[in-house]
Amino acid sequence: MKAMRKKIKELFANGDVDVVLGYREDPASGEVKASVFKKDEMLEDMVFDERCVQNLVNYLPTLVARYSKVGIVLKGCDGRSLATQLVEHRINKNQIVALGVGCEGVKVGGKDADKCEDCPTSMSPVTDHEIGDKKQKKDPVFSKVEEIEKMSPAERWKFFAEYFERCERCYACRQICPSCYCEICVADQQEPKWIEPSAKLSANTMWHLIRAYHLAGRCADCGECERVCPQEIPMRLMNNALEKAVHELFGVRPGMDPEELPPLVVLSKEDPDTIMGGKHE
C-alpha cells in the first residue's frame, strides 16, 4: 500500500498523470468505492485490498476524454480487461499509465469471489509500473463449466431457463461491461427487432445468448456482469464456457496478450472444418 501511494505521488510529481483511477475507502461509511484521485487529493484514503472488487476499466473511456494522462490501478483480471480494450483501439495506450498491483484475491459478500478461483494471472498483463509480488500464472480450470457440460441438453436448459426467466432486462450487465460499448445495442434495435423488449423467457433467452456470444473471445472474465446482476443470473458461466471454447478452438486467452486480436475478427484458413461439428467431406 505504501509502495503504491509512493509511486502515485511520484507520478503526480513528475507530471506523468493528471488523475489516477483507484479505490477509496470512504472515511465516513468505511465503504470502498471507485474514485478519481487528483494531485494532492484524498490520496491518504486510497486502499487496495480484498474489498476492491470493481473493474475500473469501464470508467476509462470517459476519463481519457477529459484528461490527457490517466493512471489506473489494476488487478490481474482488470488488466486483462484493459488489454481487450487496447487491442480494440477503444483506448489509446499513450494516455494510460497502468499500475499493476499483485492481487491476492477479492471478496464478494464476505466470501472469496468465484472469479478468483479461475484466475489465470494475479498481475495485469499490461503494466507500466508493477507493485507487489507477481504470482505465477496458471491456466484456469472452469470446473463449474465442466459440471454443466456433464449434464444432458434438457438438464442444461432447465438450469438456464430458470435463470433466464428471472431476468428483468435492466441491462446492468451490459452497462457495467467494458466490452459492451455499441452505440446502439442489438437489444434496443428496432429494425430488425431481434429481441423483444418485454421481460419474458423467449426474449430473455435471446438477450443472454447474444450477450454471451458478442463477448466470445473478448471477455476477460472480470465477472462484473454477474456481480451486478440483481437476479443473480450466472452470466460468468456462459462467458467462461465461451472462453474455454475459444481457447480450445483457436488457442486464444482473451486479454492475456495485449497484442493479440480477438479470434472472431481474424480468420484462419487453417481452421479444421471439424470445429463446426458434424461431418464434413
Binding site: A154, T205, A212, A241, L242, P263, S268, K269, I275
Partner: protein
Amino acid sequence: MQIEKEPRILAILCKWCSYAGADLAGTSRFNYPANVRIVQVPCSGRVDPIMIFKAFVEGYDGVMVSGCHPGDCHYGTGNYHARRRIAVARRLLEFVGVHPDRMHFTWISAAEGKKFAEVCSEFTDKLRHLSGTEKTLARKELAT
C-alpha cells in the same frame, strides 16, 4: 397433416454456392424433404449467429447453415469468418441445452445438388430421432 409433424428445418444458404446447389437439387428433381425453409444470404459470412438463436427460439427443430467450400468463397474469405463464428455459436447453444444434432453446418457448392438433397434428408432423419426429446429454447408463451 403429415407435414405438420415433420421436423421444421431452417436452412441459411449463401447465394453463390449453396443456394445454387439447392436450386440444382430442385431442377435435377432430387428428392429432399419438403420441410426445409430456405433463407438466402449473400455469403455465409453474413450469417449472424443471432439468426440461429432466433430460429431456435421461434421453434425450429433444426438449423442448417451452408456456404461455399473453403477457398471458393465468392468474396474471398467470408466462409472462413463464418466457420469461426459458427463454431463458437454452436458451443454456446450446446452449452445452454440445444441438442448437438439440431444444428448442421456444412459446405455445399453450386454443383452439389445431390449433396444438398442428401444433407437435408440426413438432417431430417436425425431430427426425427430427436422427436421424443425436448425442443429446448423454443418459446412456449403463445400470444393467446
